[in-house]
Amino acid sequence: MSQYVLRRLLIAIPSLLGISVVLFVVLALAPGDPFSELATNPNVPPEVQAALRAKFGLDDPIYLRYLHWLNAMLHGDWGFSFVSRMDVDQLILQRLPATLYVIGSAQILALLIAIPVGVYAATRPYSLFDQIANTLAFVGFSLPTFFTGILFILIFSVTLDWLPFVYTTDIKATGIRWVLEMIRQAIMPVAVLGLFQAASMTRFVRSAMLDVIRLDYVTTARAKGLGQATVIVKHVMRNAMIPVVTLIALQMPAVFGGAIVTEQIFRIPGIGSLLISSILSNDTPVVMAVTFVFACLVVLFNLIADVLYGWLDPRISLR
């Protein structure tokens, strides 16, 4: 097992290198760089501009710049944010907890809704419950998060004034009040992101369950007189979860993508909003680092999915 994980981590190195090359080239091809602002600033003499560009190697050929970046990365130097005036790794570490908190809670919420609803709907296909669940799921994944997010803000913040619509990291409270406030301000973003995820996941859980429920070994289990609950949980669910795990892992990039939008709407100071603001201000080192962190997270979740896969399905041996 540990050998398998180690091997998978080693395989991840070339793919991460590949991703970094693509990211670097795309960013280099994009117009603008951190110093393009200086060009329009009349207070900075052209000689100073040229000296700065030379110092940071901005006019070097692209492969040299890439090797320079890679070398720095390997030494733990993630670069310097020209806009925030601080190291990129510091900046990311500052922003990451908010993102993980919101995305993690949203994923947990999505699973807590999708698995019970999907499983129950599959045991009673075409029943009233199933029809309602299907309709809601369809509505749920048809509505983009930027729409539901604004709708939620309109209803719960503006009209009802129940929840804050701006997320803040410096809550002026301590102890239990701080915890409650953290939960209160996360309710809307987590609900928007979680319900959106839950909608498509519910439908997937339902169809995975329906695929398994009519298989021969389920009839065998019924013939043992085990009772509906045992048959469903022990014999059907365990098998139906195998494709669901894959789907959840493959959806992680989309989840991060969705989080970027949600963070913008609710003003969550996470890495998603950091990415957007860095792109807008041409803060290339930050853009590069954040997209690279996203890539690492996606690779990591795929690895977790593969390990879970081997645990759920004994036919797959992790060697």
């Binding site: 065998t220 013939a223 043992k224 045992t230 399905d313 004994p314």
Partner: protein, 331 residues
Amino acid sequence: MAPLLEIKGLKTHFSTDDGILQAVDGVDISINRGETLCVVGESGCGKTVTAMSILKLIAMPPGRIAAGQIIFEGRDLVPLTSNQLDEIRAKEIGFIFQEPMTSLNPVLTIGEQIAESLRRHEAVTRKQALERTIEMLKLVQIPNAEGRVHNYPHQFSGGMRQRVMIAMALACKPKLIIADEPTTALDVTIQAQILDLLQDMKERFGMAVMLITHAMGVVAETAQRVVVMYAGKVVEEAAVDELFGDPRHPYTQGLIRSIPRIDLDSEHKTRLEAIGGSVPILINPPVGCRFAPRCKFAMNVCTEKEPLLREVAPGHRMACHLGDTSLGGAA
């Protein structure tokens, strides 16, 4: 003595987009204690649906037991709920399915799959259940049972998996085993081994066996009594010697003639006789005898009036107008 299981006028229907499919349409079958009864017929004649109806293992909906009684030890099973039937499933009536490759759950060890049945029906601890499971695996001749009990189904061959299925069905020592084509999916050499094993187990535990098959060879080897089904109905029923010696129904005669023979010398060898056509689709079936379109003895009455099961010799019943004196000159 009352039979162990008596199926009376069973009708199992399925609703489909095209109408009601009458898969089983008025079947009477009875099994005595300790007896081996074979149910034969082509694919699609309602054998499996009849067997699955006994423990309500058919998908409901779309399936439905439309009429009839299934009396097991004096108790009608038809009105029971699935929860009530759970007390009878595996404990009183065990099931062996056709496909050993797909009938075992791939993500659970075979030991767990046998033991869960024991734990459900008997007051045993986990450890006792495991011991009993190993004992059952030894009984069905699985080598190295102590080690194999923790293996998963994919680590077994087809024949070994069917042995596991048998061990599973026998675990709670039921009074009746229903085996739905237990050898169809296996190699010929393995088939004989599995049939022998079933026979052994039956003698050891003294249970009744309802063996569903389409192979007349299997019938000749194992059965005491035979029920021949065609298109959702019983067409003939007799003791095994009687059936092979004096088949009365044209369909049974056709089935027996379609068995390849190697005991004839080459001059007497003829083309194997097959029954032309195929089983009718059982949505709005024709009136009269359902076999009439394929029967070479078909008469006018056959498409007008349904033949009923009647006794033609002691313990030998069949449903055909041929030789029916009550029809007067028609026959």
